[in-house]
Symmetry: none
Subunit: 199 residues, 4 copies
DNA sequence: ACTGGCGGGACGTCCCGTTGAT
DNA sequence: ATCAACGGGACGTCCCGCCAGT
């Protein structure tokens, strides 16, 4: 096996990460044994640990990458967009997100590392988005933006966890409607997002 | 060695369960090693395994008991009550609830056993509670009761998971207000719950 | 397997230690795999690690015990005695002593622990023994007692290592004679140790 | 890829051997992982294994080379010279010598190979040196030359091991004096080695 | 000549549940 | 009913040597 090009390296890492994602999703962190990682990725221990220092590292990288992705979705498409994204996710994978959360709470080193990594700006961007929506009258302004953000977070995590646990997924449009009713401002923006006409 | 009285038996089981709760809460399922269970309960392996067949059994029983308790709270005090109950729970323990959910999704035997156990009536009771509230005009009736129930579930799980992960707990009253706005019917019941007078 | 009496416990630990001694002696620290420890002791991993926290712990305890024993021999019977003890030791085991030394030099934590353990008094007792012999004219007093002690140490370690490496063991009496010639004082004590008459 | 000249080949091998020496000295045989060899030598696995069949081979060659060197010192400069050489050696490296000894004792194949390699003549040269010194009256002749040689060996190994274990190095001149007293013949050669005047 | 990705065995440790004895 | 000694499987990690490719 010769020296891999930079692109090939990334592809290799990607392949392992994807396999790990499936394993973590299906079996949880502890259940995702290295033997399973080998089987799922088609690579040997030697190969896997050549690219990642440990199972935990694999887990962490995966969380980083998916978190970034989701935050990006939020900033780009707002609450509606992220809800729709969540219901299209592999539900099994969402369970890993939950597992990751436990790790965050339990393992101080883990949390520290995560804190260090998370760019504060992402959260700020999310917050500013809410403030703008309030100023534009799309969101009610009798509630502090931080509180609104937390409420959104609750609903998002609720959806995540319900899907992760394999319950009937709640109807997306309904959730959006109800949350819309709860948070709408004076001059709500059109709720018609996918059709051409406004109401 | 003398036989224990029936009451003593229950007390013993209770003691073990409580210890297990703390262990699961603090360390997660896999992290709750039998050694830790021994230390926390003050009993030895032999004693623990005398009362429960396995660690998994312990976990299951604990989940059953807590689930029953929460459903009871819901039926007795409704959405408001259960939200308030959740924010008073030990957040660490809530993580176990989440862990339990993963198990449910992942392990078919586990799920089967759970399904068999759950009395359908509990859920029905919850549903009927919603229908009554709709009939009384307290909850909007332009949404099917099942859907409303699911929405409630999403918010509840959202709160659970956020607390479990150690995030800032969202303000209880705010959540109740927003969800109230989202689901209120024509003749909302008084929102003032702790004061003496009705509106 | 019921609760063991204190004596039985010690016996069990002893049995494991003896097996470990043989393993370390024959294969060195790294070569003494747990599998070999199992085979040699006739006990399982579970049993071994029930009594000792780790392989390293086993190693440490073994070193402590043998070191104490040897120092005791020295204090009781002096240089002659310890030389004779060394040539009666299992040469294979002496290699472990050497291995232990490397660990001492290499691993700071290990050294710290060893330092903490070693009672300074033992060394002092050895030193005082030399001073007394000098005062009695048995050992030359034109050399500082510490230096004499170091010279003895060199010869002892030399014997140890030669035997450990499997070379022809040097003749004990000759070594004693030469070292005697090197260190004798004005009024040497009788060299006749094993027979009744002096020369 | 161009072929290396004979001189370059040797240089390459030398570079690897030197790196290996440092690794073995610092970490012991097992601790000297190939990864460390790579880092220390600046070459890759492939390069290293191109020149040496295995880690063990590397170790063996190193031992051969250092043994030859030390024997040479002995033959050239005698006991005094080798003692002085030893106290100038890197003590870490001496530990490898000890490690090598264990290997000799433990691994039959290893020993066989070593036996086959060692030119008997070297030892004979050392022995003849002693005989000559006895004949010249420099060394006592009431002890067989083999025995004297063994005694020298004991002291040398003792010094080696003490330095290897990081103990206070015994004073060189003192050791020489004491061993001199133990082994001197009727007409000892001048002990003045560093000063200009004879006694 | 040299690189480095990789296979796969072995290692120390952990941990659950069983068992024989009180 | 309780205890703790124990078996033995499985885990994450390490690490040597091989070999396809440059």
């Amino acid at each position: 096996v010769p020296r891999l090009s930079e692109a090939d390296k990334d592809a290799r890492r990607e392949r392992i990460l994807e396999a790990a994602r499936r394993c973590f999703a299906e079996h949880g962190y502890e259940g995702a044994t290295v033997a399973r990682l080998e089987r799922e990725s088609g690579l040997s221990r030697g190969a896997i640990f050549n690219w990642f220092d440990s199972k935990e590292e694999l887990f962490f990288q995966l969380a980083v990458r998916d978190n970034d992705r989701l935050i990006g979705v939020y900033v780009d498409t707002g609450f509606d967009g992220i809800v729709r994204a969540l219901v299209e996710e592999d539900p099994a994978w969402l369970a890993v997100y939950v597992e990751f959360g436990r790790r965050l709470r339990t393992d101080p080193q883990f949390r520290e590392r995560w804190k260090k990594r998370t760019p504060k700006e992402r959260e700020d961007a999310a917050l500013r988005r809410i403030e703008e929506a309030q100023a534009a009258g799309e969101l009610r302004d009798d509630v502090a933006p931080e509180e609104l953000g937390r409420f959104f977070g609750v609903v998002l995590d609720g959806i995540t966890v319900q899907r992760a646990l394999g319950f009937d997924p709640p109807d997306t449009d309904l959730v959006l409607r109800l949350v819309g009713d709860a948070t709408r401002g004076r001059r709500p923006r059109s709720r018609r997002r996918h059709g051409p006409a406004a109401s």
